[in-house]
Symmetry: D2
Subunit: 306 residues, 4 copies
């Protein structure tokens, strides 16, 4: 039974993601993303589950930077988890009694409509995480009357769900990934995603265009691009890419090799099944069979045939 570290404490959305990704796993809550990933790196856990991006807030930059700079880890699975906030209170608390609401700043932003409408007179105070907010509210003497958090947090800390799905947008989603130490990789499924980090030789004009051309010329579609500072001054960036396909696919392999040749460094972050089960149309000439056929032809002409 694998043990997986995750962004804790108990009751976070990350725990919810972990329970779906690996229902059978032992769970090791960690204080933050770095700690969860370090647990996986050091072997205290067999892997970790961390958030990568949110459809409202964008990239979780800590995760991006940890995957780029820390000891290597490979993404082996992803999950798209709807972010459904619940209003959680101690037993017997009523709406009218709520004066102080405790929650994570992102939740403050995302539930602004609900709190303005239903709790116009309540103060909303920032907590380090939604789960921590629930944990705090669960304490008998807490100065807070309610937490906004995942339902799972209420279950953990014995709170009552007074209102469900209170976010302003019903369709907010967070993308979580499961990572492991290098050594193995999921098999290709035809609906895969590959992630990597690319560092430029130098930041010459057109370098980004060149990188994108390495993908497009092999019919490999990008699904995400993030620039991150290298730390060497404003104007110096490296790039996170997600794209369609598996490193075992011929077109992906050639694109990666091409990128590797024009970059200072490319860090492979894994190939894994897509959470959305989307099977992309492969562009004409870009299937494995097309590459194999072209290789055979090349071998023949290199042998002096016409």
């Amino acid at each position: 039974m694998p043990k997986l570290a995750y962004l804790g404490p108990e009751g976070t959305f990350t725990e919810e993601a972990l329970r779906i990704l690996a229902p059978e796993a032992d769970r090791l809550p960690s204080a933050n993303v770095s700690a969860a990933l370090d647990a996986a790196r050091r072997g205290e856990a067999d892997g970790a589950v961390v958030p990568l991006e949110n459809s409202l807030e964008g990239a979780i930059t800590t995760t991006l930077d940890e995957l780029a700079w820390g000891d290597p880890l490979l993404i082996t699975a992803e999950l798209l988890l709807p972010v459904e906030f619940s209003l959680l209170v101690r037993k017997n608390t009523t709406m009218a009694q709520i004066k102080r609401v405790f929650t994570h700043p992102a939740a403050i932003t995302q539930c602004r409509g609900f709190t303005a409408r239903e709790l116009p007179d309540a103060m909303v105070i920032a907590a380090p995480s939604t789960a921590a907010a629930a944990q705090e509210v669960a304490l008998p003497g807490s100065p807070y009357d309610a937490a906004i958090a995942a339902r799972i947090a209420g279950e953990h800390y014995g709170l009552v769900e007074l209102a469900a799905n209170i976010g302003d947008r019903a369709d907010t989603v967070t993308r979580f990934v499961r990572v492991s130490r290098p050594g193995s990789m999921p098999e290709p499924t035809g609906s895969d995603r590959t992630s990597l980090v690319a560092f430029l030789n130098d930041d010459h004009p057109g370098a980004l265009l060149e990188m994108l051309t390495e993908f497009s010329v092999r019919g490999v579609n990008l699904t995400r691009i993030e620039s991150r500072p290298t730390g060497d001054g404003i104007g110096r960036y490296f790039f996170h890419f997600d794209f369609e396909g598996h490193v075992a696919d011929a077109r992906v392999g050639e694109a990666l090799s091409g990128l590797h040749r024009i970059c200072t460094d490319v860090r492979f972050l894994g190939s894994y099944p897509r959470a959305d089960r989307f099977f992309p149309q492969i562009k004409r000439g870009m299937a494995d069979a097309d590459f194999a056929e072209a290789e055979g032809w090349l071998a023949r002409i290199r042998g002096g045939q016409a």
Copy 2:
């Protein structure tokens, strides 16, 4: 005398930036980036100064999203400010007495080397901002012994600088921008930057490559690209671009028009002098004179000449 809102409270790096960008201005501290920008939008201030990106932490996403979605504002100036952290204490506090350090999480990260080396036994606690940390430490009964903050914060709140420039990297820089309500714009200087936000018609494969080609074909070099979620689900992004040149430059104008034609929406965020005073080499054929000459030629051939 203009009045400029800024990310407060008094003593922030943003105040330091504002003092350099507009030494003569009246200063209006605001609770957060949104509030500072709103003060400018509503006319409570003549403009605002806010951080845009940091060479270690990356983009200030609140600023990016405010400029993209809020009522329009134009960037009229930028500043690159070295981030120099100071260890600030109440008068008579010695290093040995420091048990609890209060500061912003970014400063916790960036001064980890110093605290580990010089204050190995101290606890470091997260504050909402470095200036707020200094403000708190300045209170006589504060539970904290020291703040890590800008020197200016010490001056504001009457603290003593026990150590200067304690960041792990000496070269950390934050880029600040001054924004105003639309209506006027700095003149071209030959060393200018232009910022904009582009929303895609649809997120088809290759759309990003198409956008970059609109720039490259006119010899316009990008200096920054950031993707941000549109809020409509994972995989849906819009883009912030910074690039060389001024909207009054022919090549920049044509690139912007081209981008406008292939995007759902392009929001212009301003053209302004570069903080680094770098004068880029204009690619052959891309100077204003080249555009004017080509326009003349086009008019002639449209008139039936060969």
Copy 3:
């Protein structure tokens, strides 16, 4: 009534093309393409009709080079003429009597199947043109028994058509153009073609790709590209381009300006209605209205609006 020079003598396919392009015109046969174009240049004729390319033989390089290097002329119309060869004889000649066939080398090639099958024992001799062959055969004491030429040549020189449409491929077509001295141009019709010649600043790697990108980025589709030697040594070429659209179209105008800026010289060869009446789909964002809208937007942001 206009007078048009053409590649003579009477009875050529070019005369046939001229009769269709300008039924009412006076016709001035010229000894060769250069002479026909010179007649137009010097005002001896109001224009000229010359062949530009053939679907089997390719470009008529004399025409290409004359249009590129000679005094400027503008193409004002094009025609696609099926090339239908006839076997022409003097009255009373029978198939069995044909021992020597006279015709242009291109016709020798293109009628090889017919002559092998129907005239296996006849000699086929090269003539300067198909019309000249017919002219020769029409002489009473001619050593040749038959000519392969256009039916119109038989009519001119009083020959009998013994067999019609004897080419190996029924679908061979020659493209003819009508040219005039600069000064006016056909109006856009929505189904137009534009021709030009582009000389490179230098023949650096990627120059051709850059030129093609000037077209593609404005959604202008090429229909023909020919490289021709500049005369300055092997490896030095200039290029003929035909593409969809009219110079009056915004997208075409901008593409031409772009090309003009990156080339040493661009010679405009005219915009004229397509012979095939094909109305191309205009790529999204590339219609005149899109350009006008973008221009308006650019003017607004240059005026300081966001």
Copy 4:
């Protein structure tokens, strides 16, 4: 001792080229380019020497089309031969006696300055080839007084060189190639050229740009591009490409494979040493060692390493 067919008769520039390319070879003059290539195909000769392009006249389309459509042959060498025309006469003929000059039409064009200046009253008559003109003039009862041809033709047919190097441009050059039946290929030298023919899947807009991108993305520079009609109507072309490098080079091999995948058909026409001995700079990341290094890296990440 190999036997090589060539474009005859004896005394052509092609013979001169053959003598330089293969001094030791037996020579088999052929009536035309097709006959020379057929002799090589059928084994009557071990190979053939034919002209490919001329710096004034452009491509020799017969050669291009034969290489594209006939039974496959591979180019194994190339030669750049200065085209130096001589005025050749029978013994004792003086300039003043020359009334009729016989030569190939290309020579008529290229020596126009000389004939206008030195022989203003002479007629210049078109011959099938310069060597044939010399052959004819050598006949005692010839109606022609002089031939313009290669000096070698004078040697062959016993004519006297009355004037040397009489072309208008001193730098005219013809590129000849030696071809053989497939089966072997010259080794890479670092200064190589590769030739091929590419047929498009369909003639969609942008297809040419896609083909060029296959080269440019691997840093392979084109040195020549020719479009030729497929025969299937105006607007349907296939392409001849010459480019830097040898098919054994990794970057060339990958570019060829890429082209093969996006085209209906690619016919390889050979890799051979450049006549100009130019050693091109290999673009960063495109040397064989870079490809090998990238392949090794790809193998490692496919094996589950990061």
